[in-house]
Every structure is written in structure tokens, then in C-alpha cells.
């Protein structure tokens, strides 16, 4: 996040990694205290996901692909779907509870205590809690990814090739996607400093990210183009899932050359989003007026 401040009196900055691990450990201890509840949460999270597979299973019993000549056939799309869950489960596990907590801290005035601590406030706010049960969907996503890729690499007609570089790049862009969504979320949460209360944060979040759940090609026709460009270049949610998924599933449209511009843009967009959210966060903190007596 931010480089630790170096002043003569304080030779060492806070140990960010250690703090992060402590946060993660504490959350896990809390989860393990109510173990049955934890398991119920895991089951409900994954059952929702499995139902989604059911939905697409039905869709693909009626059609061969999503969009004519886009190459998003059944197994390509399963890789896409798996990528969606990998990204979303990471965001939900690490950032969703914290963003909601942040809005609440602002409303109640308890943000004072976070501001007083000798550590970067955005770091403290962003990583305070880890919702381990959300990672169960990461497992499901991983299984589906492996299944989809196996089907694609072993199919008799034009099997795709996946090597170590593809895998490394894939996970790199998954992390880029997580960073973009994180930036969007923390910027949205920070707006509650101005709005006082932001209860529809979760709704708004859901509606925006809803656009990222499908291959971007489907928006690239007629009326969809304003959406296509807005959600690629202004609020870059379309590249969150599309870039890693195209890289791995290699549908017709994406050859290793054709994806280079989009992938490079994804890196730029990630850095840009992180920077923008940092600015919004800093700017919002300046307007913070405590609510305490």
C-alpha cells in the first residue's frame, strides 16, 4: 500500500505483512469458534454457485455457444465462469466484509480509532477481517477451471494448449481483476463519508459487477457499444474476468497475439484503478468529521 514513514525518531515502520497475517489468523480463529455456522456458510455459498452451473447447463442444452462466432462454447464458458468465481470469491473473502464495516465505522464515528493507529488507514480498513467461508467458492472455481481446461485440451478438434506461462499469466490477471474490483469497492465505500450512510453499497456493487459476469463480446453490438466502452475504459469491470478467461480458454476471437493489447491495457487499468481509489480514499478522509460526542 504505502511505504512506511521514515522519521529519525521512529526508525521502523509497521510490519505490514505481520499485521496482515495476524488479521487473517484472528478471523480464522473467530470462524472456528462457531464451526457449524462456518460449515453452513460454506455450503450455502457453494450451493448458490452450483445452481449457477445448473442454469448454464440448461442454456447449453439449447445452444452451442454464447454469441455466434465468438467461440464461447460450453467448456470455454465454464472456464469463464470459473474465473468469475475465483475473482469474486477473493474479493468477497478479503474485501467485502471490510468495505461494509468501513461504511459503518464512518456512520458511528468509530473511524477515529482507525485513524489514530500508527499504520496506513487504507491498509487497516481494507484487510481488517477475512471471511474464510467465501473461499469455498474459490475451491469450486478451481475445480471447474481444471475440468473446463481438461475438456478443452483433450478435445479431438483443435485442442488448446496450456503451458506454465499461461497458468502464471492467468493467475496474474486474476489478481489484477481482484485489484480492480477492490479499488472500485473501496472508492464506493469511501463515498459514505460524504453521503453519511451508504446502505445500498452492496446493491450498487452487485449491479455494477453484474456486467463483468459475461463475455465482453456480447455488448459489442449496436446499442451495447456505449456499455462496452464505458465498462472497459471508464469503469474497467469488463476486463476483470474477460482477460484471464480469454487467456486460458482461448476462444476463437482470442489468439495469443490478439490478446496482447487488451492484456497490456488490463495492467494499466489495474494500476490506474488502484491509484484512483487511493486518491478518492485520501480525499474522502479529509472530509471526515467524527460523529462522537
Amino acid at each position: 500500500m504505502n511505504e512506511p514513514s521514515q522519521t529519525p525518531n521512529v526508525p521502523r515502520g509497521p510490519a505490514y505483512l505481520k499485521v496482515l497475517l495476524t488479521f487473517a489468523r484472528n478471523s480464522l480463529i473467530r470462524d472456528m469458534t462457531f464451526r457449524t455456522n462456518f460449515i453452513v456458510q460454506c455450503v450455502s455459498a457453494t450451493s448458490w454457485t452450483l445452481m449457477n452451473i445448473g442454469f448454464y447447463e440448461i442454456i447449453f442444452s439449447h445452444t452451442g455457444s454464447i454469441g455466434a462466432s465468438t467461440g464461447w462454447g460450453k467448456y470455454e464458458f465454464y472456464v469463464f465462469l470459473a474465473t468469475t468465481w475465483l475473482v469474486n470469491s477473493l474479493v468477497q473473502a478479503f474485501f467485502m466484509p471490510n468495505a461494509q464495516e468501513f461504511s459503518e465505522l464512518i456512520r458511528t464515528g468509530n473511524l477515529d480509532f482507525a485513524l489514530l493507529k500508527p499504520i496506513d488507514t487504507q491498509f487497516l480498513i481494507s484487510f481488517n477481517k477475512v471471511e474464510w467461508s467465501s473461499l469455498s467458492n474459490f475451491g469450486v472455481g478451481l475445480l471447474l477451471l481444471i475440468y473446463g481446461v481438461m475438456q478443452l485440451t483433450t478435445r479431438p478438434v483443435s485442442p488448446i494448449e496450456v503451458n506454465a506461462i499461461t497458468v502464471v499469466l492467468y493467475f496474474f490477471f486474476v489478481l489484477c481483476g481482484v485489484a480492480i474490483l477492490y479499488s472500485l469497492m473501496i472508492a464506493l465505500a469511501a463515498t459514505s463519508i460524504w453521503l453519511g450512510r451508504n446502505q445500498s453499497l452492496y446493491n450498487f456493487w452487485f449491479y455494477i459487477t453484474n456486467f463483468s459476469r459475461y463475455p465482453m463480446e456480447i455488448y459489442n453490438t449496436g446499442y451495447g457499444q456505449p456499455l462496452y466502452y464505458t465498462f472497459t475504459f471508464i469503469i474497467p469491470v469488463l476486463i476483470v474476468v474477460n482477460v484471464p478467461a480469454q487467456l486460458m480458454a482461448q476462444p476463437l476471437a482470442a489468439t495469443s497475439e490478439s490478446i496482447v493489447p487488451l492484456a497490456s491495457f488490463a495492467v494499466v487499468a489495474t494500476l490506474g484503478s488502484l491509484l484512483a481509489s487511493r486518491l478518492v480514499f485520501k480525499r474522502a478522509l479529509l472530509s471526515y468529521r467524527s460523529a462522537s460526542s
Binding site: 453452513v40 450455502s44 450451493s47 448458490w48 445452481m51 445448473g54 442454469f55 440448461i58 442454456i59 442444452s61 439449447h62 445452444t63 452451442g64 455457444s65 454464447i66 454469441g67 455466434a68 462466432s69 465468438t70 445500498s200 446493491n203 450498487f204 449491479y207 453484474n210 456486467f211 459476469r213 459475461y214 463475455p215 463480446e217 456480447i218 455488448y219 453490438t221 451495447g224 456499455l227
Partner: protein
């Protein structure tokens, strides 16, 4: 005697009015929230466009899934938004469960008022308040999307559609109330509710038209009450239910309504017998 009936009516009227006023306090947030709820429709429009395009091999106008054309499909999703506005009962079952758990239910045992009746009137009030605000966003979206809808259906269809909407409300209410009553036996029903919500989302037709299900599943869904909460009214409006099946469907729905009215009454009666409240 006449006076007693009048007083009774007055009580229900006051409950209704209070419920409406309570709901209209946050009408701005309410209208905006309703409009935002249509946003996922945009992705649905593009998703189904892409799907029908690949079925029709580049020309979506000739493509069909079962009996549904592309416009039918989009119209279907818009109509389920409307049917859900009638049949969905947010917080009803969990509210009953909460009252049982924290003992608030005692007030219905002391006061001369029937709990299910009270909840029903309150729910009607909330729905009326909701429609009075939501009609704006709904009218706007349906107007913008009017191209997806078939030509005006005949009067029988419209009458049947309105009947299914109203019956959907009653069925939704008593079905969820029945689930809420289970909390007399199990104190924590939130995971049970989640399972119900999950199945309801999938099997009520909220996620996709139930005609898309493979044959075996279709039969199961036919035997469940869930399809009347979202699928049935939309299918009736789009003319996907043949006339002879329409009457049969309405009768079965009526049967389910009577069943759940009886069940929720019975469960409430039995539940109160085993309920024990402590403290004041």
C-alpha cells in the same frame, strides 16, 4: 353486533393505514432502488441476444428455445419482475421466526388481534405503498421495452393474468408464513430459509422460463407450488399456456392457496400450544 363488526373493520383499517405511512417515509430511496433493480435486465437482454444469435446462426429473429423467441424471452424476464413484485415476501418468514425467538409473539397472545391477519394486512399495506412508488419505474421500463412484448393479448388473457398476480400474492404470503411457523419447532430457521430461497429462485421460474427444463424436471416442477410465484403469470401473459391448461392451472393454484392457509393456521395453533414465553 353491527358495532362489533364496525370496530373490527376500524382496527384493520388503522393497521393498513399505519403500514402504508410507515413505508412511504423513505419513498425517494425506494423509487431509486426499484429502478436500479432493473439494471440486471440490461445484461439479460445482451446475454439472450447472444444466445439466440448463435442458435439462429447469426440471425436471432428465427431462433427459438422451445416456444420462446428472443423478444418473448426478454418480455418473460420483465414480467417475472412484475410477478415477483406481487409474490415475493421479503422478511416475512424470518420476521415470524424472530418474533418467536425473542418472545415478541406474546403480544399477539395478549392483544385481541390475530397474528396472521395482522401480518397479512401489514403486508398488503406494504405492497400498496410499494406499488404507488414503484409504478413510475415500472411504467418507464415497460414503456422503453414495449417492443419486446407481443400485441395486446385478449381480455381473457388479461383477466387471467391479473388473477394469477393476485393469487400469487396470496400464495406467496401463506407459503412463507407457513415456513415461518416452523420456527416454533426449530428456533433457528435461517439456513432452512436459505435453502427455500435457493430452490424458489431456481424452480419458480425467476431465473429462466421453466419450459427450458429437461422433461423429467418439468414434471417435478408441475407438482410444486413454486411455479405460481413467478413463471405462471408471465407464461399466461405471453400466451404460452393453452386455454384448457389455464383453467386447470388456476384451480391447482387455488388448491395450493387453500392448503397453505390451512397449514399456516394449523401450525400456528399447534405452535402456540408448545410455545413457552418467559420474562416480561
Amino acid at each position: 353486533m353491527a358495532n362489533a363488526v364496525y370496530n373490527q373493520m376500524l382496527t384493520w383499517w388503522v393497521i393498513l393505514r399505519l403500514g402504508i405511512e410507515e413505508r412511504l417515509v423513505y419513498r425517494g430511496d425506494f423509487a431509486l432502488g426499484t429502478l436500479m433493480r432493473f439494471l440486471p435486465i440490461i445484461t439479460q437482454i445482451f446475454l439472450w441476444w447472444a444466445i439466440f444469435e448463435s442458435i439462429g446462426d447469426g440471425d436471432q429473429s428465427v431462433a427459438r428455445i422451445g416456444e420462446y423467441s428472443y423478444s418473448d424471452m426478454v418480455a418473460y424476464y420483465l414480467l417475472t419482475m412484475l410477478t415477483r413484485a406481487f409474490s415475493s415476501m421479503p422478511g416475512l418468514a424470518s420476521g415470524i421466526a424472530g418474533q418467536v425467538r425473542n418472545g415478541e409473539i406474546k403480544k399477539f397472545m395478549i392483544q385481541p388481534i390475530d397474528m396472521i391477519g395482522f401480518l397479512l394486512i401489514n403486508r398488503i399495506a406494504h405492497k400498496l405503498a410499494y406499488y404507488s412508488v414503484a409504478i413510475g419505474p415500472f411504467a418507464l421500463v415497460f414503456f422503453l421495452c414495449s417492443g419486446f412484448f407481443p400485441d395486446r393479448p385478449d381480455m381473457t388473457t388479461i383477466a387471467a393474468f391479473i388473477a394469477t398476480l393476485l393469487m400469487g400474492f396470496v400464495l406467496g404470503f401463506f407459503l412463507e408464513a407457513s415456513i415461518g411457523m416452523i420456527s416454533f419447532w426449530f428456533l433457528e430457521v435461517s439456513s432452512l430459509l436459505f435453502v427455500y430461497m435457493l430452490f424458489s429462485f431456481f424452480l419458480s421460474g425467476h431465473m429462466f422460463p421453466l419450459d427450458m427444463l429437461p422433461a423429467g424436471w418439468g414434471t417435478i416442477v408441475d407438482f410444486l407450488p413454486l411455479k405460481y410465484l413467478a413463471y405462471f403469470p408471465a407464461a399466461v401473459f405471453l400466451g404460452k399456456v393453452p386455454e384448457d391448461e389455464l383453467a386447470r392451472g388456476l384451480l391447482i393454484e387455488l388448491g395450493w392457496i387453500l392448503f397453505f392457509i390451512a397449514f399456516s393456521r394449523f401450525a400456528f395453533w399447534r405452535g402456540l400450544k408448545r410455545y413457552s414465553g418467559f420474562g416480561g
